[in-house]
């Protein structure tokens, strides 16, 4: 079992890559769970269980789920309490409702707790070969990763402290969890990716894989028209950026308007080689 987190700046193609990776792993015969964090679902732009539009019908060994904070929390508490009436009492209390809404960093901890639960032997059994998580954008992703250590320093002992400790252990173990950062071959995204990876390494000793997306092919010949000038300027230094980093996988610019078509193109490109 392997847990995979996909992150990156907004709009770089996190969801497309997560979906393509999930489809690829499923096509290799693995049992895959593709996860997104709620409340708003995005994977429904790509996948559908029924034949609609041009959406992709996931194969039987690929399950897709949106984790909602409150639902996951209820599941977690229920696992500990075992008694159904107690759980109902707990969540029907107005005090509890208010608490859940404002309790600091509880949302982040609940998501990480669920993601790492197979390795911590708690919670509902998750019987998958791959758990692929289409996660938060870079800034929010850092605060997600920081939440267990933050809570540990606030609460020095007890169940909460212990839970956070094991979550962090799993998150830092490269045998159990791998990380992908999706980025673009442009100056600003590249600089930001570098800074982000620096933080991951310094704070957590995590080395992510870099996925470079939306690479345009250079023109065959130099030309003087507005199109040729602008096109060449746009892709100007992209090779430069790519060569400076250890890129795990590159994808061309797919001229697909529909997200589901884009994922199909990307999955084709991803093929079945040297993954995870």
């Amino acid at each position: 079992m392997k847990i995979v987190f996909v992150t990156g700046k907004g709009g770089v193609g996190k969801t497309s890559f997560s979906s393509s990776l999930a489809l690829t792993k499923a096509s290799e015969g693995h049992k895959v769970l593709l996860v997104e964090f709620g409340p708003k679902p995005f994977l429904n732009y790509i996948f559908s269980k029924n034949k609609v539009d041009k959406k992709i019908i996931p194969p039987a060994n690929l399950e897709i789920v949106t984790w909602n904070y409150e639902e996951v929390l209820i599941e977690f508490i229920a696992y500990f309490l075992k008694v159904k009436t107690l759980v109902e009492k707990f969540f029907s209390s107005p005090i509890m409702k208010k608490l859940i809404k404002v309790a600091p960093s509880l949302r982040e901890l609940v998501y990480l707790g669920k993601a790492t639960s197979p390795y911590r032997n708690i919670g509902k059994k998750m019987d998958y070969d791959y758990l692929i998580i289409d996660s938060y954008a870079t800034g929010h992703f850092l605060s997600l990763l920081r939440s267990p250590a933050g809570m540990m320093s606030a609460i020095k002992k007890g169940a909460m402290h212990e839970q956070c400790k094991t979550i962090l252990e799993v998150m830092k173990d490269p045998e159990k969890v791998s990380y992908y950062v999706v980025t673009l071959p442009e100056k600003l995204p590249m600089i930001e990716t570098k800074e982000f990876i620096g933080s991951l390494q310094d704070e957590f000793n995590i080395s992510p894989q870099i996925v470079l997306n939306k690479i345009k092919q250079p023109l065959r010949k130099n030309g003087k028209t507005a199109f040729e000038q602008e096109y060449s300027e746009q892709i100007g230094h992209q090779d430069n950026y790519a060569s400076k980093m250890n890129i795990y996988k590159s994808f061309p610019y797919f001229y697909d308007l529909k997200l589901s078509d884009l994922v199909t193109s990307m999955t084709k490109k991803l093929g079945d080689n040297e993954l995870v």
Binding site: F90, A137, R220
Partner: protein
């Protein structure tokens, strides 16, 4: 009517569409029209902060460009939720000893550093503070990426509710956490707290009770404040700007935002579609004949892609039926300096 006849412009939109850059361009445009403008943003990339010459960790406003040749001043501010939240508490209570206790509480620490919750609130709160400053003719607020617009608009209310929490009334105020727990056990809250204690451990519950106890003792006068904020958001002097991109997902998100604004009767002044097309796409097509034959396939691919994209965009604009101004922003690559952002202003 111009975009700039409002005192406050609030930039909304999904994440990753260039909201902050567009907000700065908007502020620049306002200064070109002779107005003194403050642009406020939260959690920008460090890179963008340095483009603006702004430092993080101060929560202070800074003059970026002084007025010259009839243009106005450009001011900038990076909202620091941690500092802004503390300032909010200090402004609204007289009980200095309680403030210290609250700030020392470890869960308050977690609350302030928890991005999403405090970002929405401190954005609106900072706007409410700045709007009273006569220095500015226009204030542009770049909002954090919106996951839930309703939550964003309700964030002041939610935060006031937290600070006015009656949770501690169940047990009566006391500063001693151990006796608090005991008293908790003796009330209706008993079951809940002992369950929570089972799951999270006793020290978490203790810290939580201290946290709410501190809040309770602050007794803040913020009920009237809540109304002030709502008045500001719905004021005639406040306009909204929707920033998005013309792709499938972002259009859908834009649609949801527009519906909420219409529902609340908030004034959507313009919708900006970033990265709508390359520059050449909107220029004289006669030069297309002179493209090298080897490069023609590249052109054809891009041309048909952007034609289709803009057809979808036009359909969308018709569908949502907004008579409001639609701005199709071309693609700008490599925005590195304030000068580059300046290029965007001619499209606004």
């Amino acid at each position: 009517m111009s975009l700039f006849d409002k005192k406050v412009l609030i930039a909304l939109g999904p994440g990753g569409v260039g909201k902050t850059t567009t907000s700065v361009a908007l502020a620049l445009k306002a200064t070109q029209l002779g107005k003194n403008c403050l642009v406020m943003t939260i959690d920008p990339s460090r890179r963008l902060a340095s483009v603006l010459g702004l430092e993080t960790n101060t929560n202070a406003e800074k003059l970026i460009i002084d007025s010259q040749n009839g243009s106005g001043q450009l001011w900038g501010k990076i909202i620091e939720p941690e500092i802004a939240l503390k300032e909010f508490v200090m402004r609204n209570t007289q009980k200095k000893d309680q403030i210290e206790k609250l700030f020392a509480n470890k869960l308050f620490d977690q609350l302030t550093s928890n991005l999403k919750d405090s970002q929405d609130f401190t954005s609106i709160e900072s706007l409410a503070m700045a709007v009273n400053d006569p220095k500015y003719d226009i204030i542009v607020l770049d909002t954090p990426p919106i996951q839930n617009l309703i939550d964003f608009f309700n964030s002041p209310e939610n935060m006031y509710n937290l600070f006015n929490s009656k949770l501690i009334n169940f047990i009566g105020a006391s500063s001693d956490s151990k006796s608090l727990i005991k008293r908790f056990i003796g009330t209706g809250a008993k079951g809940i707290l002992s369950i929570l204690s089972m799951v999270t451990g006793k020290s978490f519950v203790e810290e939580l009770i201290v946290f709410f106890n501190c809040l309770e003792n602050l007794t803040m006068e913020i009920k009237t404040h809540s109304k002030t904020i709502n008045d500001l958001l719905s004021s005639k002097n406040t306009g909204y700007l929707l920033i998005t991109e013309p792709n499938e997902v972002k259009l859908q998100e834009a649609d949801e935002i527009i519906k909420i604004l219409q529902d609340k009767n908030y004034d959507l002044r313009a919708t900006v579609f970033n990265r709508s097309h390359p520059m050449w796409f909107a220029q004289d097509p006669s030069s297309h004949d002179k493209i090298m034959p080897q490069n023609k396939p590249f052109f054809d691919t891009e041309h048909s892609y952007y034609t289709e994209l803009n057809k979808n965009l036009d359909n969308f604009c018709k569908q949502i039926n907004v008579s409001d101004k639609v701005i199709k922003m071309p693609i700008f690559t490599n925005i590195n300096e304030l000068e580059d952002i300046n290029k965007m202003t001619e499209f606004l």
